[in-house]
Amino acid sequence: MNSPQAHWLADGRRLHLNHGPIDLIVETFGSEDERRAAYEQAVARFQTILIELVEELPELRLPAFFLAPRDFASQTARRMEAAVMPLAECFITPMAAVAGSVADEILGAMLSGRRLDRAYVNNGGDSALHLGRNQSMTVAIAGTGNGMADRVTIRAEDGVRGVATSGWRGRSFSLGIADAVTVLARTGAAADAAATLIANAVDLPGHPSITRVSARDLSPDSDLGEQLVTQNVGALSPIEVDRALDNGLVVAEDFRRRGLIAASALFLAGEARICGSVALATPNKHQAKETAHA
């Protein structure tokens, strides 16, 4: 059985942590001593994180219910449950927040007792961020060639410490048809859970050109059970694309009004919707310059 692995990426700045399905990219900014200590803490915490999750996996795969929060032994599992709890009026399991929660947990372990300017833990696109006073970080998002920014700058005062993306093309299953839904929230776990539900809501129920398969047929122990997950999306008319995005936007706006997320960007078939005020809609300066040049 494979054990946790830690390697420097080729650039020598970023650390790659892998164990089973978890792949983390970790980078820190600050004094050399603090950075080294932070990386050591991250690696130390990483040794057992998957094993701890696996021990509670059967329960984590069961739906959460907002009236009956459960107690879990591991800190990461508690983060997962806490993140999905405000969303648990409809079907959701803590697994919707697993990637963000792992990122938060490792970031937390890494920052403990440390003084870093900035840091991030990127768990396959779901990231937890640390921003010291007056610091900012620029994050690339999947805003694909539709005039939207593909870079978002998050400043310390924005209160955003988590970025997550969900969609049927990604590694996890989605009930919806969004190419991608990116969410900015207070934690990686909160962003992850919200992105999952918003991406699920970008949908056209019963549409004939959408191929759906029972999650259990694809992955026998999926937490989604018999629910139909999207496997392919055929041609959609512009009106259908608008309708699907608007279905998702309703959910995103609801989450934002309730203070669960700071902002979200929804993408489908070259179209996009923006929810919230963070600089997501700012035109990409670099891109604008290139356009002018052309």
């Binding site: 059985m1 054990s3 094993i51 696996v54 992955s219 122990d221």
Partner: protein
Amino acid sequence: MSELAERFETHDPGEKQVAEKIRCDACPVMCYIADGRTGACDRYGNVGGRIVRMDPLTILDHAAETGGAVVPFVAEGEAWGGELVNTGRRFVTAIGAGTTYPDYKPAPFIVSQEVEGVDLVTVVTEGIFSYCGVKVKIDTDRHIGDETAIVRSEGEAIGHVTTGEYGSQMLSLGGVHHLTGGSKAEGRATCDALLNLCNRKPVELAIDGGATVIVEAGKAPVIDGKVEHRMRVGCGSATIGMFATQWRGLVDEVVVVDDHITGVVSEHQAGKVLGWEDTGIKIIGRRSTPGRYFKVSEPGLGWGGTTISDPLSILGDWNAKKGARPGLSLLMVSTTGEQFAYYELDNDLKPVEKPFPDRLQKSVGLIEDNCEPALCTVLFIGGAGGSLRAGVTENPVNLTRSVQGLKTYVTVGGAPVYVWPGGGITLMVDVTRVPEGAFGYVPTPALVAPIEFTLRRDDYVRLGGYEKEIRSVEDILARGGEYLNPRQGTGAPVDNPWPPLAQLRRAAANGAG
């Protein structure tokens, strides 16, 4: 034992098939994977009802004994056509072979090869060793801890200091009691430390009442933050014996400081033979025989493995009646030649340190040159249990007898092993001779090590081997095994003999062929 470990231990053969879904046991998640899909990691998948692994099975290419560079080749599944470098001396190791725990079925690969006209088979599996550990030899004279002191990793007890050897301190780590007999944290820390040591990674070990040592197989030990460079050339007395002639005429007195036996040249037999004159020196310590003193100091991290930082502290008053005189010259040196100082007696017969003279530089350098580089060496020790042996033959005790009777050659990742005499198959292997990354673990916790048994095909069949499962190397290269992972070729470590030939020669030498 954790819930996970219990599940691992109890999953029975029938459970592996859930319709056309398979349970992957590559990582603790243990996904069920549907046909044509990958698990949560995207690294392992189910292809036609079998788990396919991306990590390649390792096949060693042994260079012909006449020499010549070994060029590694990589075989990727179907694409492998056998057209790359092939010395004809391939050996399918158990690295990446997959394990068959609890060994209810034949080992993953049973490979046949014809060598010098004799059909040999090699049975290859990744064994799960619940009973295992490592013996660590740390080349240093420094005192790193008392015998039987507890050795800790990540704060957990994982072993103890055992009897020291000449110029080396020894640790005995792991074993079933630390792995599964203590707390979960103890088992996990032990398993981690063993795995890292076996895979040649550095591990920090803290000894109760002693030093903190960073051990990495094949590298110099780091003791309390200081890299140990050299082994001592001998004890203080032996050093006197070796170098007395070199010092004759260059200096009036030489003291070799050592935590075991400190030597004094003017009193030592070696000095007397050369006609060395008395100097009136007085060593504070227990005199053993002339010129040899025990216990000049407690063991420590100072000069020659003592606690001494000022060597003069082991000297008493100089006696004028026995030859002490102003201007008398004194060399003090440690057994590795790393510490040395030069003194002359003043008018009050007190030694005063002087610049180190060129004339003595050579002899001090010679001591250092005669010291071998200090290394950490790690031997994996494990017992091949009943279930592992059952994967080799239907009648496991036959395998034990065959190994003990030298009819079966045992290797770990192609590396030769020492098999302990007596019952069972308890083996030791130098981890630096095993290809890198060959060791793994299961959360029981226990280590997974590749193990291969090479023996004559007819012997194998006779002892109840799985004859129907025997396949050629070419077939395995072309088709792989249960895990259908790509095959990876790599040069065998140059010192390792090609196992089939090693067995054949040994059998011939023992008249067992």
